[in-house]
Symmetry: C2
Subunit: 148 residues, 2 copies
DNA sequence: AGCCAACGTTGGCTCGACCAACGGTATATC
DNA sequence: GATATACCGTTGGTCGAGCCAACGTTGGCT
C-alpha cells in the first residue's frame, strides 16, 4: 500500500482510524472462522460478568444500540447460548441469561480474540501493549464520561 | 454511557475501534463545520507534499480507493481547489494539480484538524501523545508493510 | 499485430452505527 | 383512580465508509 503522506501519518485521528480498520478486519476474520461476531462476545462477556440482565442493561454496558441488541440476542438464542425470558417483576423487560453452552462459547471466543490481539499488536512488547491500552483507555474515558 | 464490561475494555481491538469512532466523529464535525471531509485533506496534503499526481498515485498514497478518489477529485475540482488535466505523456492518466486556493484551503483544514487532535487527545500530555502516535504508527506499519 | 497491464469511471454491495416511532408496561402526580 | 411521563423491546429504516467488479481507453511488450 505504501502510504507515505507525512502530514496524514502525523495525525493521531488518522492513525487511529486506519489501525481500527485493521483491528476490525482481524477480529471479523478471527471470529468469523468460528462463526461468531464481535457483538456476540460483547454480550456474552457482559452476561458472564454481571449476571442475567435486561436487554437495555446489556445495551448500556456494551455500547451496542438497543435495536441492534435485539438482533444479537436473537442470534444468540438461536444458537442456545443465551435464554430470553420475560421478567416477572417488570413485564416490559426480558431477562437474558447465559447458558452453560454460552459460557463454553465465551471461553472459545476469548481464546480466539486473544490470538487476534497478539496478531494485531505483534510489533509491540508486552510493556508497550499495556502502554497503548492504557493511553487509549484514558482517551476513551475522557470522551465517554463527559455528557456530550 | 457507562461502559463497564471489563473483558471488553481489556481488548486492544475494542479500545481502538471505540476510540476510532470518537475520532471519526470529531473529525467529521470539525471538517464539516468548514464544509470539508477527511478525504479532502488527505488528497490536498498528498498533492502539496508530492506535487501533481495521477489519481492512481493519489489513491495509493492516501489509501483511498480508486473509485472514491474519482468522487473526491470531482468535489475538489468543483471548489476550484485542484485542477484535473489529461496527462499529455500518458493519455490514460489525469494529472491532478493543487491550486493556490487549494493550498489556502489545506492550511485551513490543517488548523481545524490540529484543534480536533487536541480535543481528541485532551487527557494526554504532549509526551503521551507522542507515545500513542508512535505506538500506533508501529502497529500500522507492521500491517501495511507485509503483503497480507 | 496481438496480448496484457494500467488508468479513470460507473455502479453496485456490505456492514456497522445510528435514529424514529410504535405498542405495551411501569411509575409518578394529582 | 385517572392521567401524564418515562422506560422497554421491537421494527424498519437511514447514512457513510470501505470495497469490488466491470468496462472502455490507452500504453507497453514481444
Amino acid at each position: 500500500m505504501e502510504i507515505g503522506a507525512t502530514r496524514l501519518r502525523a495525525k493521531a485521528s488518522w492513525l487511529i482510524n486506519k489501525t481500527s480498520l485493521h483491528a476490525h478486519r482481524l477480529v471479523a476474520e478471527g471470529l468469523g472462522s468460528v462463526d461468531a461476531r464481535g457483538y456476540h462476545f460483547a454480550i456474552l462477556a457482559a452476561l458472564d460478568e454481571y449476571g442475567p440482565a435486561s436487554q437495555a442493561a446489556l445495551s448500556q454496558r456494551t455500547g451496542i444500540d438497543r435495536s441492534d441488541t435485539v438482533a444479537m440476542v436473537n442470534e444468540l438464542v438461536d444458537q442456545h447460548l443465551v435464554v430470553r425470558e420475560p421478567d416477572p417483576d417488570d413485564r416490559r423487560r426480558n431477562v437474558i441469561t447465559i447458558t452453560p453452552a454460552g459460557r463454553r462459547r465465551l471461553e472459545r471466543l476469548e481464546t480466539v480474540l486473544s490470538e487476534v490481539q497478539d496478531e494485531l499488536l505483534a510489533p509491540l512488547s508486552a510493556a508497550e501493549r499495556r502502554q497503548l491500552v492504557g493511553l487509549l483507555a484514558r482517551v476513551l474515558d475522557h470522551h465517554t464520561s463527559q455528557a456530550g
